[in-house]
């Protein structure tokens, strides 16, 4: 909400400080845009390009007052990113067709990620979280594995552990609190977006 208000103020201000507005937009949407693009295009580098291009276009639209209602800004950013991804998808499709016509047997996708969202988490962050996970109790670790790696339904994990869904949510909440506590003790505030 604070970010939304700052964007409001910056857009409304006479000078419309470009850098400050770009910073606000980036802080608010950078992770979302990379996630959005990485899932579709399965390449973290291309996802970053899409995120940058989206921020640039949204910034342009804000400066030109093409976004009337700032409450609709998230939807505008979403739609802009979707258009860029669609365009990128069509370009990649044409490139594939051209390679096929030339009889190339080589794979045309150079950076395809098997797990595109995990690939967005940088190495330091992974190491930091992994270290914290290793310091947790095995039962907490196993619970988080079932929930986040195996991505099982809450009901299924609860059934496996012989507890009800409500009790599972409490157990998960406590495990995440312990993880956050260990991370906080180890490194203070994480340098990346968000935080466990």
């Amino acid at each position: 909400l604070a970010s939304r208000e700052r964007i409001n103020r910056l857009t409304a201000s006479a000078d419309r400080s470009a850098d400050a507005l770009a910073t606000e937009l980036t802080e608010r949407f950078w992770l979302r845009l990379r996630v959005f693009a990485a899932r579709r295009l399965r390449d973290r580098n291309v996802a970053e390009d899409v995120a940058q291009e989206t921020i640039r276009r949204v910034l342009e639209a804000l400066r030109e007052k093409r976004v009337d209602n700032l409450d609709a800004l998230p939807a505008f950013v979403f739609q802009t990113a979707r258009n860029i991804c669609l365009h990128h998808g069509r370009s990649a499709h044409r490139e594939t067709g051209a390679l096929r016509r030339f009889g190339s047997s080589q794979s045309f996708v150079t950076g395809e990620e098997a797990d595109p969202l995990s690939a967005l988490i940088d190495r330091n962050r992974r190491e930091q979280v992994r270290g914290a996970l290793e310091a947790m109790r095995p039962e907490d670790r196993e619970l988080l594995r079932m929930l986040y790696v195996d991505a099982l339904d809450t009901a299924e994990v609860a059934a496996r552990l012989g507890i009800d869904s409500g009790a599972l949510r409490v157990r998960k909440h406590r495990a995440l609190q312990r993880l956050a506590g260990i991370l906080g003790n180890v490194s203070g505030r994480s340098g990346t977006e968000g935080g466990v």
Binding site: R32, V35, F36, P74, V77, A114, D115, A119, D153, V196
Partner: protein, 195 residues
């Protein structure tokens, strides 16, 4: 609506976790993404889910470096083992087979073999007493995880089709006990794939 406290996706986070794992349909993903752009709580929880997934699928950097650049002490110990084994072999009859585990493991050595065929990596391994599951992991040369499969069987097949050809890949199998602890691991092995 106060996003910090009220969010259906974050309160019941099954779909959010499945989204992070790539286990949702396209329409579910689109709906969630549209919501995600306006919900700060989902953004935070999604980043959390991604970080936990990435960390749990990440092999220890230290272990990879250790594997790629063994320490002097490790090389010396390995040389000593080879000398001792060679000496024992000289003393024993040729019919006897001495099985020397590569890595000591109180639950037994996990020996795995793999075959690349038809665009898949087929892996077989021996059962380890006390293991509840096994995880077959696929990595790039810099240690980034590419794929992971968990199974209670002693065989698995991982498709390689969507992965870039030509780049060296590495794999290993880990045995996991009922507490989620890795009790034995096969060494990292390289898959040589033609360009």
């Amino acid at each position: 609506v106060n996003e910090a406290f009220e969010c259906l996706y974050a309160d019941d986070d099954d779909l959010l976790r499945k989204y992070a794992a790539g286990k949702v349909t396209e329409s579910e993903a689109e709906r969630f993404e549209e919501h995600l752009f306006g919900c700060d709580r989902c953004r935070t929880e999604l980043e959390q889910a991604m970080a936990i997934r990435a960390a749990m699928q990440e092999p220890s950097r230290a272990s990879l470096l250790q594997w790629r650049f063994p320490s002097v002490a490790f090389v010396a110990a390995a040389a000593a083992v080879i000398v001792v084994v060679f000496g024992l072999l000289q003393l024993r009859s040729r019919d006897q087979v001495i099985v020397q585990p590569v890595r000591g493991a109180k639950h037994g050595e996990l020996a795995a073999t793999a075959l690349v065929s038809g665009g898949s990596l087929s892996v077989n391994w021996n059962s380890i007493p006390g293991a509840r599951d096994y995880t077959v992991q696929l990595f790039t040369a810099d240690g980034s995880p590419l794929q992971s499969m968990r199974t209670s069987d002693s065989t698995a097949s991982l498709p390689l089709g969507s992965l870039p050809s030509g780049a060296p890949l590495y794999w290993r199998v880990q045995a996991i006990d009922e507490n989620g602890v890795v009790i034995s691991s096969s060494p990292l092995q390289r898959i040589a794939r033609p360009r």
